[in-house]
Every structure is written in structure tokens, then in C-alpha cells.
């Protein structure tokens, strides 16, 4: 017997409270029909006896205490899945909006997913060649990794993400088993359009699943978007054995949606008003990257987030950095100097890099070279801060060499064309070429054998 519950008891932000509801289960999805015939969906977020709190995805505008009929669906939020989902455009809650009709489901899966058993994970080791010198050499992206881009408003994170998608070469992947899941959360229409066009130009559009929750779409729906995207990605990776790159932008909008929902529910806020469970919530998304024993596919995540006020200690980048396996940090002053991609090398990091590079993967000299570049560039920063006090003229000869090295490093190594695809050998050789401008004795992270082989300086 299906019961319609008429009316609601309270409305508060995106939440409605209903009374006298029997047989409801936690996290269950409800259908809400307004008296003008429009349908909305909601999710049960709290139960107290027969009183339930429902979060309405499309918002509560036009809902009054009397004009709704609510029906329990008997199941949690599920995503219909089938191989034909590839190439489709969906809204933030996973419903098709490209006019090609509904997806005929082969199976349905709970969008919250279930945690991967740590024992079943395969430790990721195969590197993804992105053709970008800074990333390949210094913060290598590994298949199955989650490597976010920390950016700020107005910076070129979108271009960088597009370039990565266009140039990414995964060993063992080809056109038939490589795919992209793109989740837009609270981004402008033009940004979404930019991604769509870029995918089209690079010929991957037919292998992309797009989920669009634009900035004017319902905010609560935004909290579902990454979950739907990752459910699709897991299905494609672990059931169809595809290599999936998930791009999620912008995680800051997602976290803000979560904050809005949390405060309307009356929860006790943690830092900066974000809910105390922000870490666990973000982790439940980011941790859905990886590889599993017995499956050939992989889920690699590149979440993009704009740091409010470029502040890396803001809760969103801070908590993200604690969960993800490194980060690519973009820097406004580099962008101001006209450098692209404006990757700030020192705070950027890939935690999985150490086991995915070197002999058999990239080249034996990769790790020591990367260490040396980091160490030398750190000294450039010291030399610059000294120069800003006493003037460049007064620096010691070694420090002057560092200043010069820094200049070359930024203009040749970091700076790279939007369409320039450098092979790993090119990038590594370029690194050695730059290091050769420094005195040999300064290169203390590399052993002599490597220096004999690669150091070309005259000192």
C-alpha cells in the first residue's frame, strides 16, 4: 500500500519537517509532488519517532504547509548505470539533460558507495604522463591517485585540467578503455561550456560523462553531484575495467553547499562555520579513488578547488590536503608574470610519486633530479628574499647564480605552452640542463655517478 503524506509541518531552508510518518528508513528518498504538478525529490536526514526531517534537493521555494503530497520510495538514493552512460550529459543529481532520453539501467547503485577494503586495494604505481614538465618531473600523477589542483579565482586551473585530459597518456590505456567523468559543481555556464568544447576539440567528448550543477542550479543538488559522478566512475572502472579520470570542480562550492545545509539543520559548526564532519564528508568522496585487486580499471581524481582569498590554510584546502595524496598549487604571482601553468613548485607534492618513478617507470635519475630541483629552487627563494633586502648586486657569486637559475627555471621549465606536450625525457633533460648552470658542489642531493653522467656545467 502506498501512502501519500499531505502537507508538511515546518519548512526551514532546504529542509522540511513532517510528522506522523511510519515505516521510513534512514537516508530514504522521497518524492514530493506540489499541487501544480511539479515533482521534487528529497532525502530523509533525521528521524525522531514519527517525525522526520527531509532535505529537498531542488529547494523549498513554493512549498507551503499544505500544498505537497509526499511519497516514500523505499530505497536510498540510487544511480541508474549502464555502459551507454558514456558520452551523456546529466544534471547534478544524475538525470539526463541532453534530450536523449532516460538511461536504461543495467544495474542501480547507492550513490554513497561503500568503502574499499584497504586489504583489497592495489598500491598505485603506474605513472600518468601529462606532458607538463612541472607535474611529470616534480609531482608525478599516478594512476589511482587523487591529486587536487589548489587554485584561486581567476587562475588558469581550468586550462591546466583540460591540458591534462588532452595530453594524459596512461600506460595500458587506449581509446576504448579510457574515459573521463566530469562533475561541475556551482560553476558558471561558460566554464562548463569551455570544458565541453575542449573535450570536443581533443576528440574525447564521446568518452566523457558530464554532470552539470551550474551556479544557478539548486544548492542541495550540489551535494549529490560528486557522489553521482564517483558512482559512475566506480562502475566504469571496476565493472567495465576502464581507466577513469574524474575531474571535480569546484570543491569549494561543494563545501559551501554542505555548510548551508548543515546550518539550516541547526548543527553545531566547526571551523569557519563548516560542519564538524567536513573532513569525513570530503574523505568519503576523495577516498573513492584507487585500484582494486582483480580489476584492471582505475579511478584517478583531479579535484579542483579555489582557495578563498588564496589562503591555503582555509579549512577546505587544508582538509583536502590531509586526505589527498599531494596537491598541485597554483600561484597568482607566477600567473601575474605571464607564466603558464602557474604551478608553485615548492608547496606542490605527489605522495605516490616515489614508487611510480625511476628505473622501469620513467628514468633512474628521476627521483634524485626532482630532489635536487626542489632543494635548489628552495635556495632561490632564500636568495631572493636576501636580494630584496640588500639588493641583487650585493649578493655572493653563488647566490647570484641561484637568482639566475631561478629565472631560467621559471621561464623555461615551469613555463610551457598550452599545446606543448613534453615527453618525460625532454622534461628530465631540461631539468639537468638548468641544474648545470649551478656550481657542481651545490648539487648535494645527487651522487657523483649521476653528476658525471648528466652534469654539463663547466665547474
Amino acid at each position: 500500500m502506498i501512502i501519500d503524506y499531505v502537507g508538511v509541518k515546518e519548512i526551514n531552508g532546504s529542509l522540511i519537517v513532517m510528522d506522523g510518518v511510519k515505516g521510513v528508513s534512514n537516508e530514504e528518498i522521497v518524492d514530493i509532488r506540489l499541487d501544480n504538478g511539479t515533482m521534487r525529490q528529497g532525502r530523509v536526514v533525521q528521524i525522531e519517532g514519527e517525525r522526520i526531517v527531509v532535505q529537498v534537493f531542488e529547494g523549498t521555494r513554493r512549498i507551503s504547509l499544505k500544498n505537497t503530497r509526499t511519497r516514500l520510495t523505499g530505497h536510498p538514493m540510487e544511480m541508474p548505470l549502464s555502459p551507454e552512460i558514456i558520452g551523456r550529459v546529466l544534471d547534478g543529481a544524475g538525470k539526463p539533460i541532453d534530450g536523449l532520453g532516460d538511461i536504461f539501467p543495467v544495474k542501480k547503485a547507492n550513490i554513497n558507495g561503500t568503502p574499499i577494503n584497504p586489504v583489497s586495494r592495489v598500491y598505485p604505481k603506474n605513472y600518468i604522463n601529462t606532458g607538463i614538465s612541472t607535474i611529470d618531473t616534480l609531482m608525478t600523477l599516478i594512476r589511482g591517485q587523487k591529486l587536487p589542483i589548489f587554485s584561486g579565482s581567476g587562475m588558469k586551473h581550468n586550462d591546466l585540467a583540460v591540458q591534462i585530459v588532452r595530453q594524459a597518456k596512461i600506460s595500458g590505456a587506449n581509446n576504448s578503455n579510457f574515459g573521463v567523468v566530469f562533475a561541475a559543481m556551482g560553476v558558471q555556464k561558460d566554464v562548463a561550456e569551455y570544458f565541453r568544447k575542449s573535450f570536443e576539440e581533443s576528440g574525447v567528448l564521446s568518452r566523457v560523462v558530464m554532470l552539470l550543477n551550474l551556479s544557478n542550479d539548486p544548492i542541495i543538488e550540489r551535494t549529490l553531484t560528486p557522489r553521482c559522478a564517483l558512482t559512475i566512475a566506480e562502475y566504469l572502472a571496476f565493472e567495465l575495467d576502464m581507466h577513469i579520470l574524474v575531474i571535480m570542480t569546484d570543491m569549494t562550492s561543494y563545501a559551501e553547499a554542505l555548510r548551508e545545509f548543515s546550518s539550516s539543520k541547526g548543527e553545531i559548526p566547526g571551523r569557519k562555520g563548516y560542519p564538524g564532519y567536513l573532513y569525513s564528508d570530503l574523505a568519503s568522496l576523495y577516498e573513492r579513488a584507487g585500484m582494486i585487486k582483480g580489476h584492471n580499471g582505475s579511478v584517478t581524481q583531479i579535484p579542483i578547488l579555489t582557495m578563498p582569498n588564496d589562503d591555503i590554510t582555509h579549512p577546505i584546502p587544508d582538509l583536502t590536503g590531509y586526505i589527498t595524496e599531494g596537491q598541485i598549487v597554483l600561484d597568482r604571482s607566477l600567473q601575474g608574470q605571464g607564466l603558464y601553468p602557474p604551478v608553485s613548485v615548492l608547496p606542490s607534492l605527489s605522495r605516490l610519486m616515489k614508487d611510480g618513478i625511476g628505473e622501469g617507470y620513467t628514468r633512474a635519475d628521476h627521483q634524485p633530479l626532482a630532489n635536487q630541483l626542489f632543494a635548489s629552487y628552495a635556495k632561490v627563494i632564500d636568495a631572493r628574499s636576501l636580494a630584496s633586502v640588500i639588493g641583487e648586486e650585493e649578493l655572493s657569486p653563488t647566490d647570484k647564480k641561484y637568482i639566475e637559475f631561478g629565472r631560467l627555471f621559471e621561464s623555461k621549465f615551469v613555463n610551457q605552452g598550452f599545446n606543448e606536450n613534453r615527453s618525460i625525457e625532454q622534461s628530465l633533460d631540461l631539468g639537468w640542463e638548468l641544474l648545470s648552470t649551478l656550481p657542481r658542489a651545490e648539487l648535494d642531493r645527487v651522487d657523483d655517478a649521476l653528476l658525471d653522467q648528466y652534469y654539463k656545467g663547466n665547474d
Binding site: 577494503n117 586489504v119 571551523r271 586526505i323 636576501l386 655572493s396
Partner: protein, 585 residues
């Protein structure tokens, strides 16, 4: 207490409430819903009983049954713990994988320890023996290097009325029966249960006087930790907390390692699993896993189980300590545990204190760290639990509540520094901000085992680093050219100390673990060069002449050039220093 069953009234995230029941006790373990999810009673009023559920609560309904187990949240202690990997409430992840595949399902009923495996048990008591709590009644080889000692549960004592012969037994087989003073018989099997939030009793707590040797130079020499000591490793993301914890877990000289991945990354745990099974322990020539227990409650696993994982870890640690072992427990990271506390406290609508953390955060931290220590155990021997907790301060700000409170209850503080990490100086332990309070306790041991001069070298090394740090203040303002030669010499020597001594390469076969003897000789050689050069500089011979000899660069690389097995090579270095310097003076 007649009806042990009640029914769900409300659900809010991992918190479930039950109405109108008086059948539960505080901290009792319960099974919630039809899937029998594990939960714990955390609040009781005459109207509402509150339960924290350790698994996802999706799909629970009001009216679903809640059943009490009559006991507090506990873990099963017995053979099979070592070389295993558990989640935060001691469910074996390998067995769950076999049962359910790659994703963890809910309400799993797999036994924590393998109850079908036969263990080769040797009895240590005979009929008529009087046994006290904690006394060993049988032993069995758990792994090739760890002998598992079965102990009478601490609260029991009595006379042995039955002993089975030596032989093979399963986990729940009774091997000894004792009769207590009131004539009640107790069956002793190969396992026992213990509530995770209660510390196991010891005979007497001892002060810490033996260092935990880690083979990491900056820790062993500058900031040593004692066996049974407590240490905190705070650091922002990317500063190498996990890397440092891994290094300690791999190389420290404890008998048993308990590694708790509390709210951390899944891929990191798979790395630990892979690396530890491949690594060979240099002392026993056996894989590291033969002495390691892993507890993996990754960040996406239920938050309440994350809160419990720390207690599960320490309880397992105490159990092995009671057998007379030295246990080291690494918790990565305690901040995630504190956040789990905050999350649950928020769901209970408790009044928050600093930064939303509950007011009882400091007392919970104190309780946890107090469970570490060296002790004379009930079975007669000596054992210890060393606690090393990583702290992930929000926004790398060490003034936040978890770091500050942890500082109060730990005696070693290894502060990781972003600047060092950015320059890829690992371990990025900042020598100015870190400290160890164990010097006084450990100095006698160092004197006895490494000689008086070890402490002298250490003091001189840290004095040089201090001096460099104040000189660098000047250099930052006016450049290094204007310094007199003797001060430049300090800076050059400190550079050798920083790059050649403090910095340590975890991926280098020799450098990843360095014995204390070599650490001492390295310090000696560096100081020797410093003293000799100082004499020459005093004679107004320019420093650049000394630097051109390449001795400083040579010492920076001695950590790679001198194998751990050839300490005699240091004599050649000292000879070379003397000869080359004599030539220019």
C-alpha cells in the same frame, strides 16, 4: 534487566536513540537493526538512550530491534593478532575481503581471530598450581619470532583443577580449568576479552631508562625517546608525518609494532601492507609483518569506529606488553581521532569548547597517553608500550587545541616544519622547535653503552645549530659576506650537520637505518673538522682556503660513502682531515 531488547526511535547520522528502556548499561556494546550493526551506548536518560553506531546507518528504520550484549565494547585477545589487519573495532579485513569482496559490507559477523586454525600449545602449569591474574599458563609460537604467552585474565585467580596435554588446539578450546576461592570453575582457552576503554593492570609502573633506538639520526641523538615513552609528531600536510611514522615502524627496536591508520588514506595503508611484507627485519631475518599488527580505519570508513581504533590499538599493545614484550604503537593521526570525537559530540548537541572540540578532549588525550609506559607486568617480567602519535594541526597552526593538549601529555615533541619539507629536507624535524624530556632518564644508558663522549658530541652539535640559527638572522639582513671567518665556519659546519647528518634518506639502502655507533662517529668526525679548522682560522688563514680542500663536501656525503658495516673508515676520514689541514697551516 529482563528484556534485553529495545527498538529504534530516532536516527541522526551515526547516532541512534532508543526510547523507554532501562535495559542497557553505559558503554555497553549493542547490535542495532536487522543487520546487527555494532554500536555502543553513550548516553542514558530515563526517557532516551543514545547509541553511537560504528557502521553506516543508511536504511535503518524506527522500530528496528536493538539488542544488548551485556558487556562493554571489547576486543578479542589471543593468537592470530600479529600479521593481521583489522578495522577500528577489530574486524579482520582479510577475512572480510574473502567473505564480501573488495568493498566492505555492513553487519559482518566474521570472528576477529581465526577460530579454525590449530596452534601448537605448550602448557606451563600443572595440576594443583595456584595461579594469580596475569600469570602465564601456556605458550605457543604465534609467528616464527613471537612467542604468544597465554595469561590468566587479570581479574581471575585460583587453583588448577585440569590441564590438557601439550598439543594442537583451536582458539576457543579449553586448555586449563581453574577453581577460584569460592569454588567456581573457570575455563581458560587460548583467548580472552578485554574492554577497550579500560587499561590493563600492571604490577608496578617503572620509569623509562632505555631508549627506543630508531636508527634515525635526528631522533636518536638530538631528541631521543625512551621505551615506554610518549611522543607527538605534529606537522601540516605534506611535511612527512606518515613517512616518519613508517620509518619508525620499520626500524625501531621494539618487539612488536602496532600501526594504527586512524582516518588516513586507503592507498597509504596498501603501501604499508605491501612494504612491510617485503621488508626483512635485520635482526630476525624475517618479514616485518611477523611483528606487526595493522589497524586500518581509513578516512572514509565509519567515523565512530575511527574513534574506537585508537583504543583498540592500545589494548592490543597492552596485551603484548603483559606478556613481557616491548611494544611500539604508532597512531596516524590522533587529530582524526579528535575530530571523530568532535563529530560525535556535535551529533549529541553537547556544548562545544575550543574550535568546536568537546570540553573533554584534554582528559581523553591524557587518558590515552597515560596508557603508555614501562612496567613490571603481572606475569613477572618487564614490558613497555611506547606511544607515538602524529598530529595534523589545522592550517599547520600549532596553537590549535589538539596539538596544544597533546604537548601537555607527551614528553617528546618532534615538530615537522613546512620550510624544511618544501626544501625536501627529510625527516623535516625542526631542530629548534622540537624537544625531548627524556635526556635525564636516558643519559646513564648512553654513557654506559656509547661512552661519555656521545652526550658531549650531542651537546656540541646542538650548540652549533643554535649558534647558526642566530647567525642566520644576521645573514638574512646583510648577507653572509660580511661575517668574520670564525662565524662563517660555524655556518659551514652547521650546513654539514644539517645536510650530512640531520637529513636522512629513507630510500637509501644504508642511510635508511643508521646504528648508534655510526651516528656517534659521524658527529665525532664533523666536530673534529670544526675544531681543527677553527684553530687554522684563528691563525688568520682565510676560510676559503679550507673550503677549497673539499673536506666539508666530503663529510656531507659520508653518510652514503661509509657503509654501516665499516665504521673503521671514519679513522681514514680523520686522518685525511688532519693531513690536508696540516698542509695549509
Amino acid at each position: 534487566m529482563t528484556d534485553r531488547k529495545a527498538f529504534i526511535y530516532g536516527i541522526n547520522g551515526p547516532v541512534v536513540t532508543v526510547k523507554n528502556t532501562d535495559s542497557f548499561e553505559m558503554m555497553e556494546m549493542v547490535h542495532v537493526g536487522k543487520q546487527k550493526l555494532v554500536g555502543e551506548i553513550i548516553g542514558i536518560t530515563d526517557d532516551i538512550t543514545t547509541i553511537q553506531v560504528y557502521e553506516e546507518t543508511t536504511g535503518l528504520k524506527p522500530g528496528d530491534p536493538v539488542e544488548g550484549t551485556g558487556a562493554p565494547m571489547n576486543v578479542l585477545l589471543g593468537p592470530g593478532i600479529i600479521d593481521n589487519i583489522f578495522d577500528g573495532i577489530e574486524r579482520p579485513l582479510k577475512a572480510i575481503e574473502e567473505e564480501a569482496g573488495a568493498f566492505i559490507n555492513r553487519g559482518s559477523t566474521v570472528s576477529a581471530l581465526d577460530d579454525k586454525k590449530l596452534w601448537n600449545v605448550t602448557m606451563k602449569v600443572k595440576f594443583g598450581d595456584k595461579l594469580e591474574g596475569g600469570q602465564i599458563y601456556a605458550t605457543l609460537p604465534e609467528t616464527p619470532i613471537i612467542e604468544h604467552r597465554l595469561m590468566v585474565p587479570p581479574e581471575l585467580s585460583g587453583e588448577v583443577v585440569k590441564v590438557m596435554p601439550d598439543g594442537e588446539y583451536k582458539l576457543f578450546d579449553t586448555v586449563v580449568v581453574i577453581k577460584d576461592d569460592e569454588g567456581v570453575e573457570h575455563n581458560l582457552t587460548l583467548c580472552q576479552k578485554w574492554p577497550i576503554r579500560t587499561s590493563r593492570p600492571v604490577k608496578e609502573r617503572l620509569t623509562s631508562s632505555v631508549p627506543l633506538i630508531t636508527g634515525q639520526r635526528v631522533i636518536d641523538t638530538l631528541f631521543p625517546i625512551a621505551k615506554g615513552g610518549t611522543a607527538a609528531i605534529p606537522g601540516g600536510f605534506g611535511t612527512g608525518k606518515t613517512m616518519t611514522q613508517h620509518q619508525l615502524a620499520k626500524w625501531c627496536d621494539a618487539d612488536i609494532i602496532i600501526y594504527v591508520g586512524c582516518g588516513e588514506r586507503g592507498n597509504e595503508m596498501s603501501q604499508v601492507l605491501e612494504e612491510f611484507s617485503e621488508l626483512i627485519d635485520p635482526k630476525s631475518q624475517r618479514p616485518m609483518t611477523d611483528r606487526t599488527v595493522l589497524i586500518a580505519n581509513t578516512s572514509n570508513m565509519p567515523v565512530a569506529a575511527r574513534e574506537a581504533s585508537i583504543y583498540t590499538g592500545i589494548t592490543l599493545g597492552e596485551y603484548y606488553r603483559d606478556m613481557g614484550y616491548h611494544v611500539a604503537m604508532m597512531a596516524d593521526s590522533t587529530s582524526r581521532w579528535a575530530e571523530a570525537l568532535r563529530e560525535i559530540s556535535g551529533r549529541l548537541e553537547e556544548m562545544p569548547a575550543e574550535e568546536g572540540f568537546p570540553a573533554y578532549l584534554p582528559s581523553r588525550l591524557a587518558e590515552f597517553y597515560e596508557r603508555g609506559g614501562r612496567a613490571e607486568v603481572l606475569s613477572g617480567g618487564e614490558g613497555s608500550v611506547t606511544l607515538i602519535g602524529a598530529v595534523s594541526p589545522q592550517g599547520s597552526d600549532f596553537s590549535e587545541p589538539v596539538t596544544q593538549n597533546t604537548k601537555r601529555f607527551t614528553r617528546c615533541f618532534w615538530a615537522l616544519d613546512k620550510g624544511l619539507a618544501y626544501a625536501r629536507h627529510y625527516p623535516a624535524i625542526n631542530w629548534m622547535d622540537s624537544y625531548s624530556e627524556y635526556f635525564n632518564d636516558l643519559d646513564p644508558w648512553f654513557k654506559e653503552n656509547l661512552g661519555e663522549d656521545f652526550i658531549e658530541y650531542r651537546n656540541r652539535i646542538s650548540a652549533l645549530l643554535q649558534e647558526e640559527s642566530s647567525l642566520m638572522e644576521i645573514v638574512k639582513l646583510i648577507g653572509s659576506d660580511v661575517l668574520p671567518d670564525d662565524q662563517k665556519l660555524v655556518i659551514e659546519t652547521a650546513r654539514v650537520i644539517r645536510v650530512g647528518f640531520l637529513q636522512q634518506n629513507a630510500f637509501h639502502a644504508d642511510d635508511t637505518y643508521v646504528p648508534l655507533e655510526k651516528q656517534k662517529l659521524m658527529m665525532k668526525t664533523i666536530l673534529h673538522l670544526y675544531e681543527k679548522s677553527k684553530d687554522i682560522v684563528a691563525k688568520n688563514i682565510p676560510l676559503s682556503k679550507i673550503l677549497n680542500l673539499g673536506l666539508f663536501d666530503k663529510l656531507t656525503k659520508m653518510k652514503y660513502d661509509i657503509p654501516n658495516s665499516k665504521p673503521e673508515m671514519f679513522d681514514d676520514y680523520i686522518k685525511e682531515i688532519d693531513e690536508k689541514l696540516a698542509a695549509i697551516s
